[in-house]
């Protein structure tokens, strides 16, 4: 199949931006095809037949030589061993259909290879292929077996030592020539092939069908075969399916192809064959040739499971490794080659930069080249996009070593998931309807399992492979899947699955990773992977190139630890709400619903104590880094008991009085603090006391205290006074003056507009772009994401959700204006962004352009933000150097 064995393409190709040269050949490609029809008639055969390696000398580029001819030229120029062969340039390709040219081509390939067709000891066959100026899909299949005749076939089989391989390739060659050059109807050929098992019989049937239905019998003469083969290839190139394929790729309808006649040197199967190799291990990205080779006659689609690893090459892999390394240095990209093995010696059939190398290979190569000095560090960093960083940090199961491994299967659809085992579609739909995450487990899958798969978080099967129906469906539905798990036995009647000896019941939790194929018992947490070493290196270089700081939004010490490991420079937002939720909820509820001041003070004291512990752990984890602690900001309703759940009637009444119609716009943030005047002082004292404790151990976090949801300068002034008083109280009690900065969130349009006035009270601003986006648009996020945004994006009103990508025209303009007004009052004011936008590469570039000091994002986005900030800085540098020229 053309996809799976797509031949290594040309050295100069579109889509391989890393190729150092050759792009000019690509750009002039395809337009020149009509110019040289004359050369077919007027040129000498020396011009029409160009041996590999001699195109350039004759002034021919990829437009005439085809991508394959140009690539072979380059391999010869690099001194690498190539298979003998020649190119008939695009403009002259039709001339190969003429007997004279075909005869000359046969003679020339015989001369180049030092062998003769029909020689019994060292036989030769020919392989005809086509190539366009660039690497494209939809080329006619190679005709891989020219020069054989029924009389000579036995001699060839005797040399090879295996019969089927030759006959199979021969049958495919005859099949295509019969349909496209000898006018035998395709349906007649198809029907005959269906009725004829076995390649040898097929060749016989095909040849007799040609005799019966064809415009002439199939010739024995190699040159006549080659001429017909050329006509068949060009006919196939002109067939409706090839035209449709050109349209799909937006290629010219009359695009001309070059033809290539390659020597197919036949040798004993034990010492001859063909294979493919890439320069890097796809898993680790390390330089380490990986590939497969097949013994016997080269086929366009090697039969599955017959490949052997490179280390079984009897002649060793030294020459192959040398070729790969040479090419990698030359192309500065991970490369792939097709090679032939003849009498244990390797020669190259094709070579190219990998069009889509595995990500780790690209990243590793960039780091390798930069470390060798072959590539600048900036260029190396430029090569890795923020999106690729994200891709390398894919979600995976967090393994602690204590989990129970159940089985391993084939990684069939990427992603990690966890859920309750279900054994039928029926059960899957029932549980999923209740919101339970389920994993459908099936020994084998039928259409009846599809609804269950769609309802599940993941799929696990005991049979089938990566290309099973189940895997296709799972990927189509975006579900992680592990297929063909070893030892999996389902007992529907008992409602159990056996993994070897271990029995899991329907409803029990399992976790699986569709990228590794591993399956575990129980519920494992799914988290982001740490960066591989080569990415860490590149990120460190990126850190040296960026101006914008990257911090993390983290609420607990554990989150801080994770983020610091991922390269965060500090905490840009610590939300203190969580300290009030969960088991602390009764404490804050007591504060809010206290019957009298005494009860309230008692509740506050308990709260302060609990908060002190949290802050202590957080500050200790932060170390000598900046940390922005936001004072309480949560909608009131999260703290109130549900109706009827209060302790007594009086509390019920007080709670009812506090309920709001629109809590998100009600009594929250600084507003709550101004009505419950002990709230912020209590928080601030807990924070400052924790700082003094941590400072006693020699750690001095760079503390920033932030007041949320401000829209009046007076609100900020009042809240600032609470914080100052708290600091004074702590200083009086402990004798330690805690150094801190006081600032505010900018979350309301009014705060942005009044940034100048607010800056008089604030030493820093942090733009809370989630709320600022909601309030600027008047969007309630929960509501519009469900209803409005998709429709708007479909209509083209919005290109992205403004909650994912900072809206530069509205919300961004407010940020810009606020920054300007704030700086006019307080030039050195520190400015950051702590919304989700802090992890989005385009929004990060926008913040960088505004000259903000840092972005703060969730831990798993920190590496992405580091790379995005570096790319933004490098882009500016490039722009600047461009404008000075």
């Amino acid at each position: 199949m053309s996809v799976t064995d797509r031949e290594a393409g040309p050295l100069a190709q579109a889509g391989a931006p890393l190729a150092p040269s050759g792009t000019s050949e690509v750009s002039e490609a395809s337009g020149t095809s009509t110019t040289s029809t004359t050369s077919a008639t007027s040129a000498t055969s020396g011009r029409i037949l160009v041996p590999y390696g001699q195109g350039r000398i004759r002034g021919l580029g990829a437009d005439e030589l085809g991508a394959h001819g140009a690539a072979m030229d380059r391999l010869v120029a690099l001194g690498l061993p190539v298979v003998p062969g020649l190119t008939v340039p695009a403009g002259a390709a039709a001339s190969l259909c003429e007997p004279d040219t075909a005869e000359a081509a046969v003679a020339l390939v015989e001369q180049l290879s030092g062998r003769r067709i029909g020689d019994r000891a060292r036989p030769l066959l020919l392989r005809l292929s086509a190539s366009a100026p660039t690497d494209i899909a939809g080329l006619p299949p190679d005709l891989a077996c020219l020069g054989v005749s029924p009389a000579r076939a036995d001699d060839l089989c005797a040399v090879i030592g295996r019969e089927d391989a030759l006959y199979e390739v021969w049958a495919a060659t005859v099949r295509m020539i019969a349909e496209y050059a000898l006018d035998v109807p395709g349906a007649v050929l198809d029907d005959a092939l269906l009725d004829t098992p076995g390649p040898r019989a097929r060749v016989e049937v095909l040849l007799s069908l040609v005799a019966e239905h064809g415009s002439r019998p199939f010739p024995d003469d190699p040159a006549q075969q080659l001429a017909l083969a050329a006509r068949a290839l060009l006919g196939r190139w002109d067939a409706p399916r090839a035209r449709r394929s050109r349209r799909a790729q937006r290629l010219p309808a009359d695009l001309a192809v070059a033809l290539h006649v390659q020597a197919l040197r036949i040798g004993p199967a034990d010492h001859s064959g063909y294979g493919t190799a890439v320069s890097r291990d796809p898993e680790t990205g390390r330089l380490s040739p990986r590939g497969t080779f097949f013994r016997g006659v080269r086929r366009s689609a090697p039969p599955p499971h017959t490949g052997e690893p490179l280390d079984r090459l009897a002649g060793g892999t030294a020459l192959l490794e040398h070729s790969l390394v040479t090419l990698e240095r030359h192309l500065r990209a991970p490369v792939s080659v097709d090679f032939e093995v003849r009498d244990d010696e390797i020669s190259l059939l094709a070579a190219s930069a990998q069009v889509r190398p595995p990500l780790r290979a690209s990243v590793c190569l960039a780091a390798d080249l930069a470390q060798e000095g072959a590539l600048g560090r900036e260029e190396a960093v430029r090569r890795v996009t923020p999106a690729q960083v994200q891709e390398l940090l894919h979600p995976q199961l967090r393994l602690t070593g204590g989990e129970e491994f159940l089985t391993r299967g084939l990684p069939a659809s990427p992603g990690a998931a966890t859920g309750a085992v279900v054994l039928s579609s029926e059960r899957a739909l029932e549980l999923a309807a209740d919101g339970t995450r389920v994993v459908l487990v099936a020994a084998e899958t039928t259409p009846a399992d599809v609804p269950g798969m769609l309802a599940s978080a993941a799929v696990l099967t005991g049979s089938g492979g990566v290309a099973s129906h189940a895997a296709v469906v799972a990927r189509g539905a975006g579900k992680p899947a592990v297929c063909g798990a070893e030892g999996l036995r389902v007992d529907q009647a008992a409602g159990t699955v056996r993994f070897g000896e271990r029995v899991v019941r329907e409803g029990d939790a399992v976790s699986l990773d569709g990228r590794t194929g591993a399956v575990y018992a129980g519920t494992l947490s799914v988290s982001v992977a740490g960066p591989p070493p080569e990415l860490s290196t590149l990120l460190q270089w990126a850190d040296g190139m960026r101006r914008l700081g990257v911090r993390v939004n983290a609420d607990t010490a554990a989150e801080v630890d994770t983020a610091l490991a991922l390269g965060a420079e500090g905490v840009g937002l610590c939300r203190t709400e969580h300290q009030f939720l969960g088991e602390r909820l009764p404490l804050i509820r007591r504060v809010l619903l206290a019957a009298d001041p005494t009860a309230r003070d008692e509740a506050l004291l308990a709260l302060e104590h609990a908060q002190h512990e949290d802050f202590h752990a957080l500050l200790a984890a932060v170390g000598n880094r900046p940390v922005t602690v936001r004072l309480l900001d949560a909608p009131l309703h999260e703290f109130l008991p549900a109706p009827g759940q209060a302790l007594d009637a009086a509390e019920e009444q007080r709670a009812a009085a506090l309920r709001e119609a629109n809590p998100m716009l009600g009594l929250r943030g600084v507003r709550l603090a101004l009505l419950h005047e002990r709230l912020y002082p209590a928080q601030a004292e807990a924070l400052f006391t924790a700082w003094t404790d941590v400072a006693a151990t020699g750690v001095r976090p760079d503390l920033e205290v932030m007041v949320p949801l401000v829209s009046l300068p007076e609100e900020l002034a009042a809240a600032a006074a609470y914080v100052r008083d708290a600091a004074a109280a702590v200083a009086a009690r402990t004798g330690v003056e805690v150094p801190y900065r006081l600032g505010t969130m900018i979350e309301t349009p009014r705060a942005a507009l009044l940034a100048g006035e607010l800056a008089e009270h604030a030493e820093f601003f942090s733009f809370g772009t989630n709320d600022l986006t909601q309030l600027t648009y008047g969007f309630s996020r929960d509501d519009v994401e469900r209803q409005v945004l998709t429709a708007y994006q479909e209509r083209g009103f919005l290109t992205a959700s403004p909650f994912a990508r900072l809206d530069p025209h509205g919300v961004g303009a407010l940020v810009d204006l606020a920054a300007e007004r704030a700086r006019s009052v307080r030039p050195g004011i520190k400015l950051g962004v702590c919304g989700e936008h802090g992890g989005d590469p385009e929004s990060i570039a926008f913040c960088d352009d505004l000259g903000l000091d840092y972005v703060s994002c969730s831990a798993h986005r920190v590496p992405v933000a580091r790379m995005a900030a570096a790319h933004s800085a490098l882009r500016e540098r490039r722009d600047e150097s461009g404008s000075t020229r």
Partner: protein, 210 residues
Amino acid sequence: MQSAAVGLPNASDEPLTEAVVDLVLRGMWRGRAESEHRPLVDAGLAMVKGPVVLPTERAKTAAAQILRVPAGSEQEKRITAAYEAFLPVNRKIRDVCTAWQCRPDGTANDHSDDVYDAGVRESLEDVHEAIQPVLRRLGQVLAGSGQYLTALEDALDRFDDGEPEWLASPLCDSYHTVWMRLHQELLLVLGISRAEDEAREEELVARSRG
């Protein structure tokens, strides 16, 4: 279609027979009117789970009995021949769908590479060319199987009209969805289990090894 000894409430109820076969081959119905599935549910042949109608075990048994051709018959022999020609192509269509969804290195295909996608489309064309003679044969010996070529061509047209989900999405009558149905019908018609099917496919694919 023979419907004797099927265990259906009313063996001569042809609409019900057709419906149960359709439901079993499809695996589920989505968005069907209640009037369509109500008779099946009443007969204990279908169950409604939210928006989805599923066949019961009884329905699966019934469909298998309805579809099965007489063992050892000439018809079985000829369908088996078509089925054996189907299997190697069955391997290929799954490879094509896999290539459409994943690049050879296992990463998701984001469809930003026209050349790669055009290459997959070429392989799909190879599959489509290869399955046509098989379906021609099948059409001569299995009533109703002509619908599959029509449905496959419809899916291919939709795909070529720029709706890529019509290749492999399980949510529409995509090329793969229709193919799965065809495969399931062949298995029920011939009374072949999934395990036998897998082994047979492997054997036929392996036979072409050199």
